[in-house]
């Protein structure tokens, strides 16, 4: 992906960053690192999750988030990240409360499962409520009329479901022909299809995630949604040079040469151990070749790309800051 152009001015102007990716690619981690990167230098960023699995709380190692905007981290240079877990039921009740005074009845119905039932009855309704809440956060202003958040990062559903999630127009046509939800959704549609919104795709350099990324791009295009950048996650360092990769990938590793090198470093290994090293090398090379194919396919998408390294020790808070730094170094702002 040498043709990648990094973070563009267009992306720097976006106020809503939607982050999606195939399950297991590290979508939530990337969303959190992006929020920290965007907050760097004194900005205020809101990180939102919508799948009711408390991924943000786990990542930041804290108790489950309530339905409110809590400060969860400070960013270098005085910035801050707040987090919100949007719960569709709470959003529905909050929403109804704007138009009807339900009072005690609202809580009773919630206990009976009626709210879940209604969102089940009209599956698109859940998405409409959640995107509606996100839109409200993006547009909220303080007393002086300035936006409360400089940017909002949304940890969105995975690639297989994201377009359906964002395609509010379709969902609303299906569920609400008239009424307040309809009116509110028109604002959501305007935001999602404007230059203020970018949909980022997280992938690994593996066949299936890249295939899903390419499929998602076609789907986004079909729904007239704007793709942002590709985040290539968990990139492993190159160890073999190109010629050695090609040879090793078909099983050709010069054992004598390896042995001579090891001896020069004072390592005299038993035969089976040397063979183990050779097997590991072949395994590595086959994987690198698969990564190269995946990378070539991604290049065809012609999207800005940023890369994040594999963190062998797992992701903790310190690692999130490290990832955010890598993003800033690649122009994320």
């Amino acid at each position: 992906m040498d043709s990648a152009v990094g973070w563009t001015d267009e992306l720097a102007r976006a106020r809503l960053h939607v982050v999606t990716g195939k399950g297991g690619t590290g979508k939530t981690t990337v969303a959190a690192a992006l929020a920290l990167a965007l907050a760097t230098g004194g900005r205020r960023v809101l990180l939102v999750e919508v799948e009711e699995r408390q991924g943000i709380a786990q990542l930041f190692d804290r108790a489950p988030l309530p339905y409110s905007e809590e400060r969860i981290a400070s960013a270098p240079g005085g910035g801050e990240v707040r987090a919100l877990a949007v719960d569709a039921e709470a959003a529905l009740l909050e929403y109804l409360a704007m138009f009807y005074n339900l009072g005690f009845a609202g809580r009773t119905l919630k206990r009976m499962g009626a709210v879940e039932f209604v969102t089940t009855l009209a599956p698109g309704l859940r998405d409409v409520l959640q995107t509606g809440k996100v839109k409200e956060c993006v547009g909220r202003t303080d007393s002086s009329g300035r936006h409360l958040y400089d940017a909002v990062v949304l940890d969105a559903p995975p690639t297989g479901r994201v377009v359906k999630f964002l395609d509010v127009t379709k969902a609303v046509t299906d569920v609400a022909k008239v009424g307040p939800i309809r009116g509110q959704s028109e604002g959501v549609v305007r935001l999602l299809h404007s230059g203020d919104t970018a949909v980022h795709l997280v992938t690994l350099l593996e066949e299936m995630p890249v295939r899903e990324t390419m499929d998602a791009l076609v789907e986004l295009d079909g729904a007239d949604l704007r793709p942002g950048a590709v985040f290539v996650n968990r990139v492993r360092p190159p160890r073999l040079d190109a010629a050695a990769v090609d040879a090793a990938a078909v099983g050709e590793v010069d054992e004598d040469q390896v042995r001579a090198g090891l001896l020069a470093a004072g390592l005299d290994l038993a035969v089976d151990e040397l063979e183990g090293l050779v097997d590991e090398t072949v395994d590595h090379a086959v994987r690198v070749r698969a990564e190269q194919r995946a990378s070539a396919e991604l290049t065809e998408s012609d999207l800005p790309a940023v890369r994040l390294p594999e963190l062998v020790d797992g992701v903790d808070l310190a690692a999130l800051y490290e990832l955010a730094e890598k993003l800033v170094a690649q122009g994320v702002r």
Binding site: L109, L121, A244, L262, L267, E273, V286, V312
Partner: protein, 374 residues
Amino acid sequence: MVHRLDVDALIDDQATKVVVCCGSGGVGKTTTAAALAARAAERGRRTVVLTIDPARRLAQSLGLRELDNHPRQVRVSGFAPKGELYAMMLDMRRTFDDMVLAHAGPDRAEQILANPFYQTISSSFSGTQEYMAMEKLGQLAAEGSWDLIVVDTPPSRSALDFLDAPQRLSTVLDGRIIRLLSAPARAGGRGLLKIVGAGFGLFTKAISTIIGGQLLADASAFVQAFDSMFGGFRERAQKTYQLLRSPGTAFLVVAAPEPDALREASYFVERLAEETMPLAGLVLNRTHPVLAELPAARAQAAAEELSSGGAHPLAVAVLRLHADRVAVATREKRLLARFTKAHPSVSLVGVPALAEDVHDLAGLREIGRRLAGE
């Protein structure tokens, strides 16, 4: 001491009739199910694998081209199992339609199938796939002609959805709330109305404003038409649930060496214990075992020494990638140790990662060998 899961003993045991592969999304459940079924067939059993939404190339490797509600024999050149291998891909819509046709009279069935609300429930309700997977498993078991049924579970955020979704769908279909919404006075009785108070009327009004009166009317008509056959549905789901708890069933929890996947695996193991469902063990996919004993620190030091001299670039690369691999393996062991500490009695097997995705039967057989620890 952690016990090694003996996969061959499990699939060779004539008493094992059903193997359910469960786990969170993206851990390789479908591949595990297919590889296990292929191995069982090769070892002489008449096996069927029920897959849910497999990747296209994996489906093709089993000769499956489209959703099809009937098991098809897998015939691939070079694959001549001692037993037989059949495969099918769940078509949830058709499974649901067939159930309706089997349980309702022809007139009523037609009425249900044409209802827009039924069409929503049968194609996009999040619990339907799980419910239909259970139903299909029940049907296959009732046929009585299979030595072994291997079931893949639907891709879901949480592994527990598989056990919970049928219940959720039942709640919707049982129609208490919908009757309340469409005709509160009749269904709820005075007691409930008194509790909920006047707010209830407002709620109903608000709901119908939001989702549209038509949808509510469709839902109501559906529930009325569905009511008479609901008992039959529930009874069948109950029967399948009992099948899952019977000694002929074995659950395999599938995970990858990642914190999220192992956390889900933990939840599932605990849940199976609560429901007294038989757990065979944990399959840990895509591990990266170290193939040479050389410690990472020594490899790293030797690489530094060589590279400062500028000679032996191949040996330097080999040493560095070995050190990387040791680091990965160490992390995987640490994650697994957390799981085994919490669940010391669960036997398990690690399946070393293939360098590329599986797209043919040869790849499935290789996974099968790795599952069996060959």
